[in-house]
C-alpha cells in the first residue's frame, strides 16, 4: 500500500476499556473471550494465548494487563514477540531500562501491535509486540527483549488486533493502564 494511504486506525475511541487480561497458558482456557494456539517458527505448538475481559469476573491467576486494542477475536494471523518477566522478577515501570525500551519503541518504526504487560499497579510483566506481516522480520529487534526473555510465536487468526502507533513522546502510563495507552 502506498505510503500515506494506509487507513487510520481507531485510537482510544475504538474500545470501551483500556485493557484486558492476557496470559500464555499450556492448555486452552475455556472461559477466555479470545484464545489461539501459539506456535514456534518451526511449527511446534508451545501453548495457548488467552484474553479475558476486565470486569467480567475475577482476574485469572497469573494474567497480565494488556492494551485492549491488542486483542481482536476477529484478527488476522500474526507473528508475536512475547516478552515475559520471570515470575519472581519484579521490575518497576519506572525502571530506567523500561523507560529506555519505550523510547526505542517510539524512535523506531511502529508495529501493528505493541503493548506492555502490567503485573500490578507499578510492576511490568513483559511486552507484547506483533505484526500481521507474513514474516517476523519487523520483530527482530524487540527492545524489551534486552530486559526479559522473549519468545517468537506464530498465531493463526482470531487473536491479534491492530493499534495506532504511539503518538509519543510520553513514556508514562495513564492511571496504571498498559503503555502506550494514552488517555486518563
Amino acid at each position: 500500500m502506498p505510503i500515506g494511504t494506509r487507513p487510520r486506525v481507531d485510537g482510544a475511541a475504538g474500545v470501551s476499556r483500556p485493557w484486558q487480561w492476557f496470559a500464555f497458558r499450556p492448555e486452552r482456557p475455556n472461559d477466555a473471550f479470545a484464545t489461539a494456539p501459539a506456535f514456534r517458527a518451526d511449527g511446534a505448538q508451545l501453548g495457548f494465548l488467552a484474553a479475558w475481559l476486565v470486569g467480567a469476573g475475577r482476574k485469572p491467576i497469573g494474567a497480565l494487563g494488556i492494551d485492549a486494542r491488542a486483542i481482536n477475536p476477529g484478527g488476522k494471523p500474526a507473528w508475536i514477540s512475547l516478552v515475559l518477566a520471570p515470575e519472581r522478577s519484579r521490575v518497576l515501570f519506572d525502571d530506567p531500562a523500561v523507560c529506555q525500551a519505550m523510547r526505542i519503541v517510539l524512535s523506531g518504526s511502529p508495529n501493528d501491535v505493541m503493548s506492555t504487560l502490567v503485573r500490578d499497579s507499578s510492576t511490568i510483566g513483559g511486552a507484547f509486540t506483533a505484526t500481521h506481516a507474513p514474516t517476523p522480520d519487523a520483530l527482530a529487534d524487540d527492545p524489551f527483549a534486552r530486559i526479559f526473555p522473549r519468545t517468537l510465536l506464530r498465531v493463526d487468526g482470531g487473536f491479534v488486533g491492530i493499534m495506532p502507533a504511539p503518538a509519543g513522546p510520553g513514556v508514562q502510563r495513564y492511571a496504571g493502564a498498559p503503555w502506550p495507552w494514552d488517555q486518563f
Partner: protein, 225 residues
C-alpha cells in the same frame, strides 16, 4: 495569553519579509540578491512597496480559536487525526519549513531537549511540514525526536490554515508557527516564528503547558486525602 501571530500589522510583516530575504538569501531557496558584500540598503517601513507584498499569507491562528481537526499521514505513512494525537493532554503543535532550514534545525535542537520533560508530563508534541513522510522519518530519526511528525505534502492543510510562506517560491513551506493547544484543540498561544526570535523558548512553552495543565486537571492541587 500572548498573541504573536495575527496582531502584527502588515507593514511590520513586510519589513520583516524584506530583511528576512536579505539575511537568508540562498538557504531558503530565495534569490541571492542582497547577499554577501553588497547588501540592499535599509529602507524605512513607509518606503516599502506594499502592493508587491500584499498577498503575503499571514497566520490566521490566534489564541482562543480552535484549530481544525485535520487528518494527515504521519512520518510512517499512517493516517493520523490531530485530535487523536493530542488526546486528552496539552499539546505543542509545530509547523516548520523543512529539514533544510537552519532555523528549524536550531529550533528542533531545543525541542528535542524539551522532549525529555514532555515525555513524563502527559503532554504531546506534533510537528508538521510539507516534506514527504519518508523525508520526515529520516529527519526525525536524525535529530532524535520521539514524537509524531505529520506530512502535508499536498499542502491542503497549509492552504486551509493560511500558513503558506509565499516568499519562498522554491520550497513553498509552512510559515514557522508554534501553537500550544488545549485538548479540545483550542489555541492557548500562537507563536509566529517567521523571524527566529518569534519562536517560543522552552521556558515559554513550559509556562504555556503549565497554564493549560492547571486549567484541565481537576487535581492540579493535590488531593488532601
Amino acid at each position: 495569553m500572548v498573541v504573536r501571530s495575527s496582531s502584527m500589522p502588515l507593514e511590520y510583516l513586510t519589513c520583516e519579509q524584506d530583511s528576512y530575504q536579505q539575511a537568508n538569501a540562498g538557504c531558503d531557496g530565495l534569490p541571492l540578491r542582497g547577499r554577501g558584500t553588497s547588501p540592499r540598503p535599509f529602507r524605512p517601513l513607509f518606503d516599502l512597496p506594499l502592493p508587491g507584498w500584499a498577498a503575503l499569507s499571514t497566520p490566521r491562528l490566534v489564541a482562543g480559536d480552535s484549530i481544525v481537526d485535520f487528518e494527515l499521514p504521519d512520518h510512517n505513512g499512517n493516517r493520523r487525526r490531530l485530535s487523536e494525537l493530542v488526546g486528552g493532554d496539552p499539546a505543542i503543535l509545530q509547523f516548520y519549513r523543512g529539514f533544510w532550514c537552519p532555523k528549524d534545525q536550531a529550533h528542533f535542537r531545543g525541542l528535542v531537549q524539551l522532549q525529555d520533560q514532555v515525555e513524563v508530563a502527559y503532554t504531546r508534541m506534533i510537528s508538521l511540514s510539507v516534506d514527504a513522510p519518508e523525508v520526515e522519518a529520516a529527519f526525525r530519526a536524525g535529530i532524535g525526536a520521539r514524537w509524531t511528525f505529520l506530512s502535508d505534502a499536498s499542502r491542503e492543510i497549509q492552504v486551509q490554515l493560511g500558513l503558506l510562506e509565499t516568499t519562498d517560491t522554491v520550497h513553498r513551506p509552512y510559515i514557522p508557527t508554534v501553537l500550544t493547544l488545549f485538548p479540545n484543540l483550542k489555541i492557548h498561544t500562537a507563536y509566529n516564528g517567521y523571524w527566529f526570535w518569534g519562536r517560543p523558548t522552552n521556558a515559554e512553552l513550559t509556562a504555556d503547558l503549565r497554564a493549560i495543565t492547571r486549567a484541565i486537571r481537576a487535581d492540579w492541587d493535590a488531593p488532601a486525602r
